[in-house]
């Protein structure tokens, strides 16, 4: 917490609130920020935090949704520890995140640098790369299922024509996850590109001019100017992408249903299955709590590491 407050311009703000004399105006100005955040906090409390507490309450019960919840202590949590499928789906989620997050960031950065140059049809190219970001997850999953379809998808039809046998994209444990990763990249790199692009445009050209005077080569300029200045952006994209990857659901629900075997069963998929296919809402909620805490921890740790190396935000 102390780390966070370092990021605020505190001295100046403090003088702001303490300048006016009189208890009423000082009271009023102290009240102002609370009034400004009140509507949001109210909505968050009703629609996010209360449901989260409710889920925590459910997580210590046995509940099929349609009968009355029955208290069962920490049983759901202890069961988690010995549930191989839970650990498998957690591992899958980590693998999926490790495959999608750095790749999206790298390709997004590459595209941003490329498309920040003066190139023919630059705006069109940018638009095309960003296009998948606006496609809804439902539509994305439908398109991907259609492209990757084993039996009449265009990808296999083209492969067959090229003499490379059809690949069981969505029905072999070997290719199902790669297919989903490719689909994810299709959506994510455009987002990373736009954010990086914006960051690049806000770097003052004078930095590069100074670097050139010092005789820096292009790779050196990237290493000593661009990359350090982009670090906060990279950090933000890292956090956002990890959060998205840990929450992936719709794509898999439509494309593979978690199969073949458990090869594409992610943690949210498994939670969904426990809640609605096996009617074990309590167990599903317990897993949800664990997932929430994991993401929160990851973010806080990243935040701390990032803070140690530099002043972020």
């Amino acid at each position: 917490m102390a780390d966070l407050s370092m990021t605020y311009p505190k001295e100046r703000s403090e003088t702001t609130t303490s300048r006016k004399p009189g208890w009423w105006s000082s009271y009023r100005s102290r009240l102002t920020p609370y009034l400004f955040i009140a509507p949001n906090l109210l909505l968050f409390s009703i629609f996010v935090f209360f449901p989260l507490l409710y889920a925590a309450y459910i997580s210590v019960h046995q509940w099929s949704l349609i009968d009355a919840p029955e208290f069962n202590g920490v049983q759901n949590y202890t069961r988690l520890l010995s549930d191989g499928q839970f650990w498998q789906s957690l591992t899958n989620t980590v693998v999926y995140s490790a495959a999608t997050v750095p790749t999206s960031l790298f390709l997004g950065l590459f595209l941003a640098i490329g498309l920040n140059r003066k190139l023919a049809a630059r705006t069109l190219l940018r638009s095309i790369y960003f296009l998948p970001v606006v496609v809804s997850s439902v539509a994305t999953a439908v398109i991907a299922a259609w492209l990757f379809n084993d039996n009449y998808g265009i990808i296999n039809a083209l492969l067959k024509q090229a003499g490379v046998g059809p690949v069981a994209w969505l029905s072999s444990p070997r290719w199902a996850l790669p297919s989903i990763i490719l689909t994810t990249l299709w959506v994510r790199i455009g987002f990373c590109m736009v954010v990086y692009l914006a960051a690049l445009q806000s770097i003052s050209p004078s930095y590069y001019e100074a670097a050139v005077i010092d005789g820096a080569t292009r790779p050196q300029q990237f290493r000593f100017v661009t990359w350090p200045l982009l670090r906060p952006t990279t950090f933000l994209l890292l956090i956002l992408n990890v959060i998205y990857s840990f929450q992936v659901f719709d794509l898999i629900f439509v494309m593979t249903g978690g199969g073949p075997g458990f090869s594409t069963t992610m943690i949210v998929q498994y939670i969904y299955q426990a809640a609605f296919a096996s009617s074990e809402m309590g167990y599903a909620s317990a897993m949800g709590m664990v997932l929430f805490v994991l993401i929160l921890l990851f973010t806080l740790i990243q935040w701390r590491i990032n803070r140690r190396t530099e002043q972020f935000v």
Binding site: S64, Q85, N151, Y152, P173, P260, S278, S279
Partner: protein
């Protein structure tokens, strides 16, 4: 909205009911037709049909039940009705029906909607499986199909035919089985054909880890191992098998009667027919179809029950099943026969197949806990079919899951 009791002559003040269903166009149209008819006879009642994709149906209904906002009536498979009865989410219908009412229905489906001696839904229709075949492709392979139930192919003969098709490269794959989309219970068709069962006779312990169980797993696994079925047709995929059949990717498909309208419309390049399922030591088939239940949240259960009885009366049942190509569950219609608009000869095969549904299979899949077996069975069989898990290991894992589920309930 009317609250409180409605007298037996039925409401004079306006009543609105909601009914949640899933279904293709033919089914939804057929539901709407019955609703229109009922509304014409009861102008004070309006019934809204909520159509939900099957993949999200039970999630939606369960969530609404948890919020005390469930639809008045909902469609439910015989495999799931026990769960709603156990949770008292569906209401006991015995208060709305006469003592002799049940006698009109076929015993197996009537037993399926009953829990501890009380009906929690009314049977609406059933469906079952048979073998669709591409007549052109089988002719090309020089194969003739059985024309009566007692001549049905044996497992060996069936595999032999499949291998002939594969050797001659007729179609991309010899056949495919429709057990995707949470319908893994259909795997048990083969288990019973081979003389096995998932649970023991009094449904208290697993009986899958037996030679019959392991051999059935091995047999169905061999379909995938030997490339007799497309790899995309394992139990957890979302591949609509009927598309593969309609476009000639597979020469045969094991599927239900409700596919007839689709195949009839889409399969323009080939002639096709339907024959009996293969058999092993026994003949067996699956109990499909749905019943309709009234939820505990209904504010007008009497009106809902009146509509429900109207929906499943002889005339409306006949209209519905002949329009949507299902099979009847009233004795009079089973015996008297139903005139089907499409492919009446093929429908006869299905009607005959319904006589081969083992009673023990019915008792197994209508257990209130069946919903818990289903995903585990799908997980383990999928591992066997797609990821090389051995039949022995698969049987052991299923046995362990079954024990856990039986213990926890």
């Amino acid at each position: 909205m009317v609250t409180g009791r409605v007298n037996s002559s039925l409401a004079q003040s306006p009543v609105r009911l909601t009914m949640a269903v899933w279904g293709g166009k033919a089914e939804v149209d057929a539901y709407n037709q019955v609703i229109a008819k009922y509304q014409a006879a009861n102008p004070n009642v309006t019934i809204r049909l909520d159509v939900i994709p099957f993949g999200q149906f039970y999630q939606q209904v369960d969530t609404r039940l948890a919020g005390r906002q469930a639809p008045d009536l909902f469609r439910v498979t015989y495999q799931q009705v026990g769960r709603y009865a156990l949770g008292k989410a569906a209401i006991d219908l015995s208060q709305f029906i006469d003592s002799g009412y049940s006698a009109a229905f076929t015993p197996s489906v009537w037993s399926a909607v009953n829990y501890q001696g009380k009906p929690y839904a009314l049977p609406h229709h059933t469906d079952t499986f048979a073998l669709f075949y591409n007549a052109d492709m089988l002719a090309q392979a020089g194969v003739t199909v059985p024309t009566s139930l007692d001549q049905a192919w044996t497992w060996d003969r069936f595999i032999q035919v499949a291998k002939v098709l594969k050797e001659k490269s007729i179609g991309s794959y010899p056949f495919a089985m429709s057990w995707q989309n949470s319908a893994v219970h259909r795997w048990m068709i083969y288990l019973y054909q081979h003389g096995g069962q998932l649970l023991n006779n009094d449904l208290t312990a697993p009986q899958i880890n037996t030679p019959a169980g392991i051999e059935t797993i091995a047999w169905t696994q061999s379909w995938f191992k030997e490339g007799l079925v497309p790899p995309s047709t394992s139990v957890k995929s979302a591949e609509p098998v009927q598309n593969l059949f309609a476009n000639g990717t597979v020469a045969m498909m094991l599927n239900g009667n409700w596919q007839i309208p689709f195949v009839n419309q889409q399969m323009t390049k080939f002639k096709w027919g339907v024959t009996y399922l293969p058999r092993d030591v026994a003949m067996a088939d699956d109990l499909g179809g749905t019943c309709v239940a009234i939820s505990r949240d209904s504010k007008n259960p009497e009106v809902a029950a009146d509509f429900l009885k109207f929906l499943v009366n002889e005339e409306n049942m006949r209209d519905y099943i002949s329009a949507a190509q299902f099979l009847p569950v009233r004795k009079s219609l089973v015996e008297g026969g139903v005139q089907y608009a499409l492919r009446p000869d093929e429908m006869k095969v299905f009607v005959e197949q319904t006589k081969t549904i083992p009673q023990h299979l019915v008792s197994t899949v209508v257990l209130p806990t069946w919903g818990k077996f289903n995903p585990k069975l799908a997980d383990e069989l999928d591992l066997a079919f797609t990821s090389g898990q051995s039949p022995e290991q698969t049987a052991q894992n299923i046995e362990a899951h079954v024990k856990n589920i039986l213990l926890s309930s």
